[in-house]
Subunit: 405 residues, 2 copies
């Protein structure tokens, strides 16, 4: 019989045993990279912009030629040409010369500033009158002003969102190296379970966990396969666990609520590999198992769907992020005041579901208490608060850290 | 020439014109429903639990038979049977009788409470000694305690996450009615643009917007098709806009930065439909167009990728959520103190990109200022702060609402 671990002991065991495992990497097109985890640091391979670019429609000038000019004493410069979008100017700007450049266009050699179109007049004699001086560099983005060649732009571990994909496009990355999706197998065990497509008879209950856990895995970017319900028979469960370990990176079994089932997962894990811990001192979720089979992480979650979901979020999700190469920042947290006090949990760590509510434009975390409520809780909560075992309850109005689902 | 609108005027025009449009609905399997928007209110079709269920391993009793019992004066009850997981008991509990029920098992008729196994002794004579009294209802979840038949469990507009899918599975929904994915066409225009698979020559620049906008649309659950780069020629752009309007629910054109391009989008929209506004008084992003062509929303975003991204988030995203049937709560916001003061914007509404940083375990919003920085900004910011045109700047430490990407 293994002793129950505290949650920090359990976290350490998981991190120490599996923390170095990473899925392999693969190259994907930029268009299909959203939500994927970057596998390499991205360094600028060129200066951006690659040319001195105007940020306004107007005239490229040598700034010194405009100093002191005004409405009443304009600077009269020779107009020497027009730069077209997307084309490099074939001429230079000399002293007392100017050229038209549109927003985003390239400044001709010799020019170091722009004067906006609205501060100019065209006298029709081949000159332009500029009515406002410009400082060197004004309205111009110089080569490398945005990013210098060699600068680190994105770090490995970034979950690629629209803005990162924009930055990669700007630097000419048409494909990008990302971590492969973690392949996870999910099994629900328990003789009393029936699939959602069937109607429970008598005291049978529906399999909730395989749907819930698969949905959570999908959101985390995993490639998830549900084995569905496996009856609580050792040889059957053993063969399914073997199949999962052979073909996947991780296995998540959630037990039915019978004692027999918990035993079955433990027995199979113990036979095929090494059980690292069996039990975490946390409420709800005590009957949690973690094992290593052929070096792969295998979890046994509680049968109760809410307990399974908390344990998944607390102990499995961080490992999934690590193995997927993601930075921990992907776990979304908010610090919010609680609306109601949360009573002391008498020396045992506890997860309390909370709903985020709005009061006068401010967000609050409202603890959701239901009597053994499963559906009523799942449909109401936005996340949960973790109350340490040394914490003597939380007063109303006090701030807590809410981990969002 | 249309006058420039304030952002609230623009929001109102968009909502008034397109706010009633919804994509159709479709039925999808529960396993493929994650991230989809629920199209109907979900009402419990049955009581949950469907039977009186024990929450512990122990003995089902009539609570009154245990009143007053203790270690020294146990209640001695006749043992009449064992309930198996998933099976309805075939017997009843009479006065001074008890039966074994596992966690999750069904209480026999006549029983109204459970006594935990650890507070019992088996004398081996067909009786059980109970050492602790139980109150009526103790360790029991009665029929409908979680959800009563007919109760509303989930509202239409909910973006289905793991916990909602768990609740649906618990109620026996093997499929669910969701809104169809919004079909959006994306076009980048501009003679100076080249695709990311090509190398820019001279003052050409890469098309960033179609990748960035498509990634943002994908994250919002849209079915997005990129038309890629369309050259700034009226007949060509017109035929592409027609094709998009005929086959999609929404069109997003983002212009290159040349004046010609802005004109082209406006001219095509004006010819094929009604331009609702041309220009929003917001920085960056003034040259924004919104038109209705065959009743479908068609946007013209600025060419600058950062401006396009802000405008997309501010004006297009809310409409996408509305048309997709989603509740507005899907827009993720955080109230955070700023690390640095943000100077007054002189009477013009402004978006300022911020990075979320951690200081001593608290989150702060740090304004990101770069000189016309595109890549450097896109790769650094987590969201943006919207500074109203009447706001005289924001002081360091003041709280702001950050809209996260």
């Amino acid at each position: 019989m293994l002793t129950v671990k505290t949650s920090s002991e359990a976290e350490k065991i998981i991190a120490d045993t599996f923390g170095e495992i990473r899925t392999g990497t693969e190259e994907v097109t930029l268009a299909s990279s959203v939500g994927r985890i970057l596998a390499v640091d991205i360094v600028a391979t060129e200066d951006v912009p690659g040319f001195n670019r105007s940020t306004v429609d107007g005239y490229a000038v040598k700034a010194a030629d405009t100093f002191g000019c005004s409405d009443s004493i304009p600077a009269i410069l020779d107009f020497v040409g027009e730069v077209l979008m997307g084309e490099s100017p074939k001429f230079e700007i000399g002293k007392d010369q100017c050229a038209y450049v549109p927003t985003g266009g390239e400044l001709p050699q010799g020019a170091d500033a722009m004067v906006m179109l609205e501060f100019s007049e065209d006298y029709g004699d081949g000159t332009r009158a500029l009515l406002k001086p410009s400082a060197p560099g004004q309205h111009v983005t110089f080569v490398g002003d945005d990013v210098k060649r060699g600068a680190e732009v994105l770090k490995a571990g970034t979950c690629l969102a629209a803005r990162h994909i924009g930055a990669l496009a700007a630097m000419g990355y048409s494909s990008v190296s990302v971590y492969k999706k973690l392949k996870v197998a999910v099994i629900s065990t328990g003789d009393e379970l029936v699939d959602v497509t069937e109607s429970p008879v008598g005291a049978q209950v529906r399999d909730i966990n395989s749907y819930e856990i698969c949905a959570a895995l999908e959101k985390l970017g995993c490639d998830c396969t549900s084995f569905g319900i496996v009856k609580d028979e050792l040889p059957l469960l053993e063969s399914k666990v073997k199949e999962a370990v052979d073909n996947f990176d991780m296995l998540i079994v959630s037990g039915g609520s019978s004692v027999g089932v918990k035993d079955a997962t433990f027995k199979v894990y113990d036979k095929l590999g090494e059980v690292l811990f069996h039990g975490i001192a946390i409420k709800p979720g005590k009957p949690t198992i973690c094992a290593s089979i052929e070096g792969k992480p295998c979890f046994g979650l509680p049968g109760h769907p809410l307990a399974a979901f908390y344990i998944f979020n607390l102990f499995v999700k961080p490992l999934i992020l690590t193995m997927s190469g993601a930075s921990k920042e992907m776990v979304l947290k908010k610090r919010l005041p609680v609306t109601l006090s949360i009573p002391s949990n008498h020396g045992r760590e506890e997860c309390v579901g909370v709903r985020i509510i709005d009061r006068d434009g401010r967000e609050y975390a409202e603890p959701v208490y239901t009597k053994s409520g499963l559906i009523s809780t799942l449909s109401a909560i936005d996340g949960f608060v973790r109350i340490g075992r040394d914490v003597e309850g939380i007063g109303g109005g006090e701030e807590v850290e809410v981990e969002l689902f």
